[in-house]
Subunit: 369 residues, 2 copies
DNA sequence: GTGAGTTATGAATCTTGAA
DNA sequence: CTTCAAGATTCATAACTCA
């Protein structure tokens, strides 16, 4: 891993767990390259609203009309996107990744720009709002979702994905690309002195929770170049990730700072993701033989019992016409391109047929102690 | 409606309810401009698959590897998209609309191109697959959705949207932008002579059903430039829409033709949309007075009873400080920008409080006879 | 305190026809 | 073209009022 030292040095210069007040492009340009693990970006959507909208009860909809959401043209918006995404890519570590959230107004342009810059899209994830605002005039479908793009810095990168944690969050089923999460309302929604919402587009913490639990590790550096009300920082602190926020509006900076001060981090144990199987210590099949858990010469069988091979002292298997690893021989006998030998092969003890993976688990349990 | 005659003339030249075998760009170029009501496009996704993928049981995933899905670069894909979408826009009527379906590999580029060409996005709709293929490698979230873009030919267009039909399809609630529909499997999936699926990306009829019921009227012309297995034609025929398919592969053309021959159209009544309130004949408030359903001088009240006004012989209302239509006086008394007087005002008969809209309904019922 | 009823509100590209 | 006016249109949730 030739990158470790560089990253470690860079980390010294990082303004961790702080909000940088200023323009995100300039602020990112001042950060060292290859220093950040994950970026979460919630850029302006460029909504292009015309006129006012009233509900059927004649109350007025409080729309997004901030200056920061207005762009002169698609070209201007694209140029802005290219500029910030280029800097974002520069500060990402090689195995880093980015999340960008958007709606149909902007997300297609953002996605295409990310691809053009060399980002490699891993998933688009749909945030399905359980309580969206209806379409009051009945002219379209209720706009009930927003889209997140999850992309690696490049197609060569290997970004963090806590598969088992994601599965656990989804009650034991693989997590899908559509997430049902309510809007940010009630006590979670930051209010100004006048009691009105402080920020027009504050994101729910549940969304960031899912992003950070599934695609970062504790201690990872998470950068949010459009920090706004600071949801990314609040959730990162709670989950024991390091964070950097960039925000232009002093009012948002101040509110986010106070908000994050009030957040307490969970315990280290709670912050650690469900351990991934891949991250568990490797065990060589030969260790089972070395430790006497399997005898050289012992016969292993497939689950159905139709295929068999014999264990050799060096931890290889031998069958009628080949010799090799548990994986190779399993694949060979099935005429399959590959095979997980740990789950394919079984042995017999006291009349019961047991997968050899049970022995690997036993060794790992010992290693934990 | 100055466009009617032109469209009617053009329709004479249209190859309706037929499949054109050939390249979609050339074929669309041969169609008259402003002649089509709706386009449904399922272009190649440019999947960029590398190598083979196997399930945990070692069976091979039958991936999309057709030549028509391969492009040399994003630039080549964009040029292709621009070419077909430009022709598509030309053949659309001014109030026409387009649906395009895609996945994260291509949909961002397609959406941005549509916007660049002047299409006006109305919604992005998420097709949530109830039975997606899992992610076998456990490296990403299960890719459980595809995205459809619904766009008007321009921001000045007024595309068909059968709001009430959509609401009815969704059990009386506004239809949202996320649709749960299963993959096309089982008997619906066309099979080749070898029993294998005929087309790698055949779309479910339920998807087209929803698209056509909500955004076309019976008799509308629906064009599908990437006809494939002909789902658009099959559903259009069933729902009594006219259709045009364009497809390059002779095998698909032949299969789609046979498939559509076997489809029977539903009855005219079944094909008609839930009637919209906007489409009902206009009734002037004055007619209620003329017919003696309300007496000049009679008092009307708001539902809560707090506001009131008096009916005049000419069909206007008068309150303490203003005179005007039922809508104007309702808005005035509420200090609201507008008001639907038909539902706001109530009168009393035999002790019951009745909205004046009940009288309008009675008149409309008479007009039917 | 409790429950029923009322009001407020959320990233919104949100009308149509006649004159 | 523009202007004017008719009139069609909302779901989930939280907070508040009041009996």
């Amino acid at each position: 891993m030739p990158r470790k030292p560089a990253a470690a040095t860079a980390a010294l210069d990082l303004p961790l767990d702080r909000i940088i007040e200023g323009d995100c492009i300039a602020a990112m340009a001042a950060l060292p390259e290859a220093s950040v693990d994950l970026i979460f970006a919630d850029p302006p959507y460029n909504l292009q609203l015309k006129g006012e909208l009233h509900r059927p009860d004649n109350s007025q909809v409080d729309a997004v009309d901030a200056a920061w959401d207005r762009f002169a043209s698609f070209e201007a918006y694209d140029a802005f996107t290219r500029a910030w995404a280029t800097e974002a890519r520069r500060v990402l570590k090689p195995d880093g990744a980015i999340w960008v959230i958007g709606a149909y107004h902007n997300v297609f342009r953002v996605g295409a720009t990310l691809q053009d810059l060399g980002f490699w899209i891993l998933n688009d994830v749909v945030w399905r709002k359980s309580n969206p605002m209806p379409n009051f005039r009945g002219k379209r479908f209720t706009n009930a979702h927003e889209t997140l793009i999850w992309a690696a810095r490049s197609d060569a990168g290997r970004p963090v994905f806590n598969y088992d944690a994601a599965k656990a969050l989804n009650e034991g089923l693989q997590m899908r690309s559509d997430w049902v999460i309510p809007l940010c309302t009630g006590a979670e929604r930051l209010k100004g002195a006048d009691g009105a919402k402080l920020h027009p587009t504050q994101k729910p913490e549940a969304l960031l929770h899912r992003v950070l639990v599934t695609t970062t590790k504790p201690g990872d550096v998470v950068l949010d170049p459009f920090f706004g009300a600071g949801t990314t920082g609040a959730v990162a602190k709670r989950l024991r990730r390091r964070w950097i926020g960039i925000e232009r509006e002093p009012a948002y900076v101040e509110a986010a700072r106070r908000r994050i001060e009030g957040v307490r981090a969970v315990s280290e144990e709670a912050a650690s993701a469900t351990p991934s199987k891949r991250a568990e210590p490797r065990v060589a099949f030969g260790q089972l033989v070395e430790r006497g858990l399997l005898r050289p010469g012992e016969v292993l069988r497939s689950a159905c019992g139709r295929k068999q091979a014999r264990v050799r002292a060096d931890g290889t298997l031998v069958c009628a016409d080949a010799t090799g690893s548990i994986h190779q021989i399993g694949a060979h006998l099935q005429r399959a391109p590959s095979c997980n030998g740990w789950t394919y092969w079984h042995f017999e003890r006291d009349g019961a047929v047991v997968p050899i993976d049970a022995l690997r688990s036993a060794i790992r349990a010992e290693m934990q102690v």
